[in-house]
Structure formats: C-alpha cells, structure tokens
Amino acid sequence: MSNSNLKSIIESILFVAEKPISLNELKSITKESTADLKTVLGEIQNEFQGHGFNIVTKDNYYQLVSNPQNADIIAKFFNEELRRDLSQAALEILAIISYKQPITRVEIDKIRGVHSGESIRNLMIRGLIEEKGRKDSPGRPILYGTSINFLKHLGLSSVEELPKVEELENSEGIEE
C-alpha cells in the first residue's frame, strides 16, 4: 500500500489501541515489512512535533500518548495529582537499570553496594520496571528492565532520549 495510506492506518491503530502495540502486531495487520513500518512510525513522530501527540516506544512496542509538555493541564483535566518524587535510591536503581538492562538484582546490589530488594519491589509495583525473563546462569535469577511506563513518567519517547553518558562504555564492569 502507499506510504500515506500506511501512515494513516498506523495512526488510527495507535489511536484506538488501549495499550502499547507490538511491531509484530502491526506487521500481521498491515502485512508490511519491519523496515517500512519503522520508517513510517518515525515519520509520524516527526510530524507530531509541536502538536499534542507523541509516540513512545520500548522493546518494539509503540503507544500513542499526549505531548509531555502538556502534563500539568492534562493532570488537572483528570483531577489527578502528578506522582510524588522518586526517592534517591529509586533514582539510582532506575539509572542503573536504564543503562544496563537487562540486569539482575544481585548485579544492581553490587553496583550500589547495598541491598536493593525493597526498592526494586516498589519500582515494580509502580510499574516503572518489569521482569524481562531470566538470566541463563546458576539460580536463573530474574532480569529487570525499564517499562514503557517509565518513559511515559519522564515524558521521553524512547531510551535513546535518556541523558548520554560517554564514559560509561569505558568504565570497567563489575565481574560476578
């Protein structure tokens, strides 16, 4: 189908969907290639600049959301309090998980030097992190990653928009 037709279809699907849609779902509905779909999604997002919409994506899931700059008004519209600030510990853990995902609890503990179990449970309950399977090592520990909700919470479109840290790639990792 033509590019503008595909664009129109994807916009509608994203609009009516109640939760994030996977690339595979879009593929099976539209019968288009991954590359084409991704291109169109990118174009749609660009066209949203300055408008009230945005597309947020994580792990090849996509969701249509409101422009993060309008958060205050929308919260008022829903009569909802914008969530309380995250604690220092929660921020540290989110920072670690964002950049090292998927990562196990023990690996997080090692980096922070403290037990993080309770904070991790809290972040799970708040839906900011989620299980991403298990590590293929003794004990098969759970792997954690950030959720699409985490991005929505911060008003980001994807993990690429997280602050850049060049030195991170050069620093030595912790050995298990």
Binding site: F78, L91, E92, K110, G113, L154, L162, I174
Partner: protein
C-alpha cells in the same frame, strides 16, 4: 574539619565513601581512599549505634579501606593477589557508582520537569481511578488465581546464609594480655608474645598493641645488639 553527614543523606557505603571523598575535593584514588578511611569508620560507628543491621552493610567496604590505608602507609607491604584485586575493585566500583549517581541526578532533573505523557483513557480506565470494576464473569476462584499470580511475580526476599564468625581479638584485649604477662614475668621476649598468635590477624593486632603500649609509655623495648632477641620491659624499669 569535622562535619556532620546524617545517615539519611546517603544510600549506602559507596555513597558515604563518595561523599567523603568529594567533600575533601579529592579524586578517586588509593591515596584519597586511605585519606578518608578514618572518617568513614567514625560514621560507621555512629550508624552502628542506631541501627546495627544497617551498619553491617558498611563493614566489607570498611575492611577494604583499611587494607588500602595500610598499603598507602607501607608501600613495601606485599598484598596477596586477592587483596590487590580488592583494592583495584573498590576504586573501580566507586567510579562506576559515581557514574550512576550522576545519571540519577539527571533523571531527577527530567522528572522534576513533570513532563509526563498520558495514554488515551477509555471510560473503563478512568473509572479505575476511583473504584474497582471487575470484568463481568469473574469469580472468586479467578480472583484468587490472579492474586496468587501477582504474589508469585513479586521479587522474593532472598535468605542470606548465616555463618558463624570466629571470635577475633581487639587491640584493647591484646594490650591487656601483654600487660598481664609483663606484670607477672617482669620481662618477656617479643618473639614469645608473637608466637602466641593463632592467626595473621592476631599477629598484626599484637604488633600494633606493642607499638601502642610503647607510645603510651606503658612498656619499654630493648635490643642490646643487632639481631639479638628483642626484650619487652615495663616502662618504669627502663633506665
């Protein structure tokens, strides 16, 4: 130049260590780590007074700091391969932790802008804010299953294995011991005192005890000729 760091202001041992180093405006090096070791220990003592369980988390790093401090004070001291690794490890860990702390700060900035994205709310979702509307055909059994699933998914507390630690001897106890030996025998030889030790740790503590007692003028140490056995005498017996 002592200052107060409240225990609530740091999230753990690495955070405390980092704050101490940054407070002294130092870089993360072995020398600066050795530098702040005493301050770190003071803080751990304070924490132990309020919350021993929390203090336990700070102990491993405390021992690593002491190792680093010893190495800095005695550069010729030979560390085992494992100990060398631990030293390099602490520096690297602190660097990495600092990194993530910086990132956390940036995340905090982003979060404070309160620019949140909302997804489209259908009528169902709006109602969920105020009351619980289960799907039509749900039964008690189904709710039970769902709840059990939620519980199963929550990360579990892991049982940390318990181990008995060997009793170690403190500096004060060792000084007491040596004091008593001197009192009953008037003079003892250094090698006798050292031979009594059951572990390397005890050897070190014994040595430190003797140095401390010399410093406090409780004992006096004599060696008449090069390589002769070293004698320990009570201080008032010295000429």
């Amino acid at each position: 130049m002592s200052f107060q760091i409240k225990t609530e202001n740091f999230t753990g041992p690495l955070d405390l260590l980092l704050q101490l180093i940054e407070n002294e405006k130092l870089d993360i090096t072995q020398v600066s780590l050795a530098n702040v070791a005493d301050q770190y220990l003071k803080h751990v003592e304070e924490i132990a007074k309020q919350d021993t369980e929390r203090a336990a988390e700070f102990l491993i790093i405390a021992t690593q700091l002491l190792l680093i401090k010893s190495k800095v004070l005695l550069p010729e001291m030979q560390l085992s391969e494992k100990e060398e690794e631990e030293v390099i490890d602490l520096e690297a860990r602190l660097q990495e932790y600092k990194h993530f702390k910086d990132i956390a700060l940036k995340l905090k900035e982003i979060a404070s802008r309160r620019e949140r994205s909302f997804e489209r709310q259908t009528e169902k979702t709006i109602q969920q804010f105020t009351s619980f509307y289960p799907p039509q055909k749900v039964s008690v059994d189904q709710l039970k299953l769902v709840f059990e699933e939620v519980l199963r998914r929550m990360p579990k507390e892991e049982q940390i294995g318990e181990e008995l630690l060997e009793k170690t001897i403190t500096l004060e106890e060792k000084m007491e011991q040596i004091s008593r030996s001197i009192k009953s025998r008037r003079e003892i030889y250094l090698h006798e005192v050292l031979e009594d030790s059951h572990s390397r740790l005890e050897l070190v503590v014994t040595f430190l005890a003797i140095l401390e007692m010399i410093k406090q003028k409780i004992i006096h140490v004599v060696q008449n000729q090069l390589f002769e056995p070293i004698k320990i005498l009570p201080a008032e017996a010295s000429i």
